[in-house]
């Protein structure tokens, strides 16, 4: 799954997700990707979020909505990401999750569980994308 957040130089934001879902799924199954607040979420006044992982679990928690709302309440991107993931693994300790969270100033963070999650970003005058490993 790719889940992306973009911030235009004028400050407007957008988010999106694209996925082919889980392998060997039951035909007809839909994952978290197209669910607003689960696959991704964005509010230009606050920030955005993208997610990947066990979609059947993650879509029950709307982690990206949670993360953005966490930032609206004053949490940093890191705190917002940690809280969103913690809510999931509290109920599903084995869940594989990964979210990237960015505020509308470009401050970003990631959190995950169950695997080594990575994300990539590029901003300003960077010549190429940089990768961040969430251990």
């Amino acid at each position: 799954t790719i889940s992306m957040v973009a911030i235009h130089s004028d400050g407007t934001m957008a988010a999106g997700t694209s996925s082919n879902g889980a392998t060997h799924k039951v035909p007809g199954r839909v994952g978290d990707g197209p669910i607003v607040g689960s696959g991704s979420y964005v509010d230009s006044d606050i920030g955005g979020c993208g997610a990947t992982g066990d979609g059947d679990i993650m879509m029950r928690f709307l982690p990206c909505y949670q993360a953005v709302e966490n930032m609206r309440r004053g949490l940093s991107p890191q705190e917002a990401a940690d809280d969103a993931v913690s809510r999931m693994i509290k109920r599903y300790p084995m869940a594989m999750t990964g979210i990237v969270v960015v505020d509308n100033k470009g401050q970003h963070a990631g959190a995950g569980s169950g695997w080594t999650f990575t994300y990539a970003f590029r901003s300003g005058d960077m010549k190429e994308a940089v990768t961040v490993t969430v251990p």
Binding site: A6, M13, A14, G16, N20, P34, V36, H108, A120, V132
Partner: protein
């Protein structure tokens, strides 16, 4: 230096939190705009770069929505790591279907497609839903009809030689692991379907009960979105 110390202190505290909660995390400082950020690295950075360059090179002619669409479409075309686009993650019937979502942070309008069949540009169809309907989500065959009839998209087989081989190998391994759970006949933990819910009237002589999700019991083989 002070800022670096703050970052180090923050990461140290977070590391402690991670150990306690099994949440892992990483944080970076504020960045200059424009900016693009997305899940995963490796082949996914082509999408990062494509989206960023749209915003960077033609800021007056493109929007953040355009950048997200172009970035995700890049991953769809490249198939990234096999979890995006055609030819990946076949279902039990060996079919690849696509899910996509796009959201505008200014208006909070969104467009999405779920279980999209036979159309490769899922994020493009999601953008159509966003731009030209009052809806948020179209699904399945009727989403395909919308894409073809309204958007002029071409229907294509989303399977590839690789995805079909992956599916056939799974079937040869008795369809293990799978996402079936509960009381099912035949035993989904050992056999392929077709499956049906177990009824008390079913004979237990030729029907085992599969109470667990075989993906949960074989974490190394787990799939994900």
């Amino acid at each position: 230096m002070a800022r670096n110390n703050q970052v180090v202190q923050r990461l140290t505290v977070l590391s402690m939190l991670c150990i306690a909660s099994r949440v892992t995390a990483a944080a970076e400082g504020s960045m200059n705009l424009p900016m693009v950020i997305n899940t995963w690295a490796g082949p996914f950075t082509a999408a990062t770069d494509a989206a960023f360059e749209v915003l960077s090179l033609t800021p007056h002619n493109t929007t953040a929505l355009d950048a997200v669409q172009i970035g995700c479409a890049t991953c769809e075309r490249n198939q990234c790591d096999g979890t995006v686009g055609f030819g990946g993650s076949p279902d039990e019937n060996c079919e690849t279907t696509l899910d996509a979502l796009i959201m505008d942070g200014q208006t909070l309008r969104s467009g999405a497609v779920a279980g999209l069949r036979r159309v490769r540009d899922a994020i493009g169809v999601a953008r159509l839903v966003h731009d030209y309907t009052e809806h948020s989500l179209l699904a399945g065959d009727l989403a395909t009809r919308f894409a073809v009839d309204f958007g002029g998209f071409v229907e294509e087989n989303l399977a590839t030689t690789e995805s079909l081989a992956q599916c056939e190998a799974w079937r040869a391994a008795d369809c293990q692991p799978n996402y079936r759970a509960g009381h099912i006949v035949p035993d989904a933990g050992a056999q392929c379907g077709p499956y049906a819910p177990w009824k008390a009237s079913d004979s237990l002589d030729n029907a085992e009960l599969h109470e667990g999700n075989s993906f949960e019991s074989s974490s190394s083989k787990r799939s994900h979105d």
